[in-house]
């Protein structure tokens, strides 16, 4: 039986924004908190570095275990015979969702700049980019 996905997981951007306490509860409920033999191939330290996340060693251990279990769980699908089944990236049978090439009003710049921690000459200011 499928575990109920707790409210708070929003996967639309492919990012799990579940608070740590909820995630721990989720993994407990689904039995994912057991030691796994990690067949996921996920290297949390490497992925965290790619995502510019600074994690402590303890956090890396925690997430390595949790993420491995999640991936292991998803791999259940491999128990099915998937020969000839194309990978599915959308559940909806929609295609060709286009808009016409028409210009719509943009945001007012003052409005846009309200979210800029720092700005100058109408530009967002970021730490100096050194290539």
């Amino acid at each position: 039986m499928e575990p109920a996905v707790p409210a708070g997981i929003r996967s639309r951007h492919g990012v799990c924004v579940l608070p740590m306490s909820r995630l721990q509860a989720f993994t407990r409920e689904t039995g994912m908190d057991h030691e796994s033999t990690d067949t996921s191939g996920i290297d949390v330290r490497y992925v965290a570095n790619l995502a510019r996340l600074h994690l402590t060693d303890a956090e890396i251990d925690t997430f390595q275990g949790q993420l491995s279990q999640i991936v292991d769980y998803v791999q259940t699908i491999n128990q099915l015979d998937l020969t000839g089944i194309a990978p599915t990236s959308h559940a909806h049978p929609l295609e060709n969702v286009f808009r016409a090439d028409e210009v719509k009003p943009s945001l007012d710049r003052a409005e846009v700049m309200r979210n800029a921690p720092q700005s100058r000459d109408g530009q967002f200011i970021v730490p100096k980019i050194v290539e």
Binding site: H13, S89, E95, D101, P105
Partner: protein, 476 residues
């Protein structure tokens, strides 16, 4: 030992759309920073992209012009990377199912024609522009989200010159297909260059380096003229080439290593959940194919066969579509297409170059040029008068036939009248006549000049020469 060079290009072309790829913000160059932005192109969480159908059509149209396969099914993916030009931390692009694959572009090389295979054409969004201040950098999102088509070649190019020829040929195709403005100054075409060398006889390609974001064709040419010999030199000295990204420094004329982190290219592509796949029915693709204009190469061949132009002239004329259009409109109304071509190749392109003007912005019309050719072909005016009229048409426009009539510029072809002028000139230039008789043939030219002067430039110079030679031979 000889070394072979292999070059592959990734050409980013800004498509000619009014609005951005995934939102309705205007696409445009030169606007005040961050005035053409919205939550989608600023990368706000929760903002949903919607695909610009016109960008898809223009990409497929490009694929059709280079004989590419148009994939029935295509999808978009997220390419993850971290850089201040992309606040979402991913760029929407196409990974394993691009819109077009397997095309080709023909180029001219000193050794003859050659085919450069195109691996794929995919569609993606452009990123923001960064500006650098002393202690910080600025980000302008006006360009972010502009529809960008990436054309990727196979490593079929074997020299800097071929790379340049390819870009020129590609630009012509894009202009003819009207898919991009191809304005290099506005960054409409930008190029990443992959280059490797290997000893002659070795099958496998050598380790490549990548030169990123070159925005002029000359830059590509010069960067490769440096980079390929640099690699050969490293190998000759027993060194090895490191796979890396290098920066072209146009001022110093060298490429330098950018020492990027090794994992910077782990893009972790995955399907874009916010965009549905593009499925193109064969009937749709065929309908688009039916609207394709004649391509520059075909047009060049037609100019040779239909108008009898030399291949070189045809190549010069078709290089710019509007110039070719002008020529053809004039040639269709003129008695001699070659004469029209001569005007285009000489006076027209010279004056356009000198005045730095576009043929669309000068007052001379194809009708006027055809009229001028009619006048010279009928020998109503001589070539000097024609040149003067051309210069005036170029500046002010007008109808050459009316101008000649009104001003009495018609050439005198009346044998009797010219003969009288020739006789006068002979009588008054006894010294030159004597020189001519002594074998100084150039003296005749001087006398012809005197006759032309007497006719106020209106005599037919060929007739003058003929009559003069007859008179002198007869011992007048």
């Amino acid at each position: 030992m000889n070394y072979l060079t292999s070059i592959g290009l990734e050409v980013h072309v800004q498509l000619r759309t009014r609005s951005k790829m995934f939102c309705g913000c205007a696409v445009g160059f030169g606007a005040e920073p961050n005035t053409q932005t919205c939550p989608v192109c600023l990368g706000y969480p929760g903002a949903m992209p919607t695909m610009n159908g016109e960008a898809v059509r223009l990409t497929v149209r490009t694929g059709l012009t280079i004989g590419a396969q148009i994939n029935a099914r295509s999808k978009f993916d997220r390419k993850s990377y971290f850089y201040p030009d992309m606040p979402k931390n991913y760029q929407i692009s196409q990974y394993d199912q691009p819109l077009c694959e397997h095309g080709s572009v023909q180029i001219d090389t000193p050794a003859g024609g050659k085919v450069v295979r195109i691996r794929r054409i995919h569609l993606e969004e452009d990123v923001a522009k960064n500006m650098h201040f002393a202690n910080a950098s600025g980000v302008d999102f006006n360009r972010a989200g502009t529809p960008l088509m990436e054309i990727v070649t196979q490593p079929d190019i074997t020299s800097a010159e071929e790379a340049f020829a390819f870009l020129v040929a590609l630009k012509q195709i894009l202009q003819y297909a009207e898919v991009s403005d191809c304005n290099l100054e506005e960054g409409n075409i930008r190029c990443d260059v992959n280059c490797s060398v290997r000893p002659e006889g070795q099958e496998q390609l050598g380790t490549k380096t990548e030169l990123k974001n070159l925005n002029t064709f000359k830059g590509v040419l010069n960067a490769l003229k440096y980079e390929a010999p640099r690699q050969v030199e490293v190998l000759r000295r027993g060194g090895t080439i490191v796979q890396e990204t290098r920066r072209w420094d146009g001022d110093a004329g060298i490429t330098t290593s950018m020492r990027t982190k090794e994992d910077a290219h782990d893009y972790r592509y995955f399907p874009e959940p916010d965009l549905m796949p593009v499925v193109l029915a064969p009937a749709q693709v065929e309908a688009w194919r039916a609207t394709l204009p004649e391509m520059p190469r075909a047009r060049r061949e037609r100019f040779v066969s239909e108008y009898g132009l030399p291949d070189y002239d045809a190549g010069v004329l078709v290089a710019d579509k509007v110039v070719a259009d002008f020529f053809e409109a004039a040639a269709r109304q003129a008695p001699n297409a070659k004469a029209v071509s001569n005007w285009m190749m000489t006076e027209m392109l010279r004056l356009l170059g000198e005045t730095e003007r576009d043929i669309r912005s000068v007052p001379i019309t194809p009708q006027a040029l055809a009229g001028l050719v009619r006048l010279t072909e009928a020998r109503t005016i001589n070539s000097n008068t024609a040149k003067e009229i051309f210069a005036e048409l170029f500046e002010k426009g007008g109808d050459p036939e009316a101008m000649v009539k009104q001003r009495g510029l018609g050439q005198v072809s009346d044998t009797g009248a010219i003969a009288a002028l020739v006789d006068e000139a002979i009588a008054e230039n006894a010294k030159s006549v004597e020189d001519y008789r002594k074998g100084k043939l150039a003296a005749a030219k001087f006398i012809v000049g005197q006759v032309m002067k007497r006719s106020k430039g209106k005599a037919d110079p060929q007739l003058v020469t003929k009559l003069l030679e007859e008179r002198l031979a007869a011992g007048a």
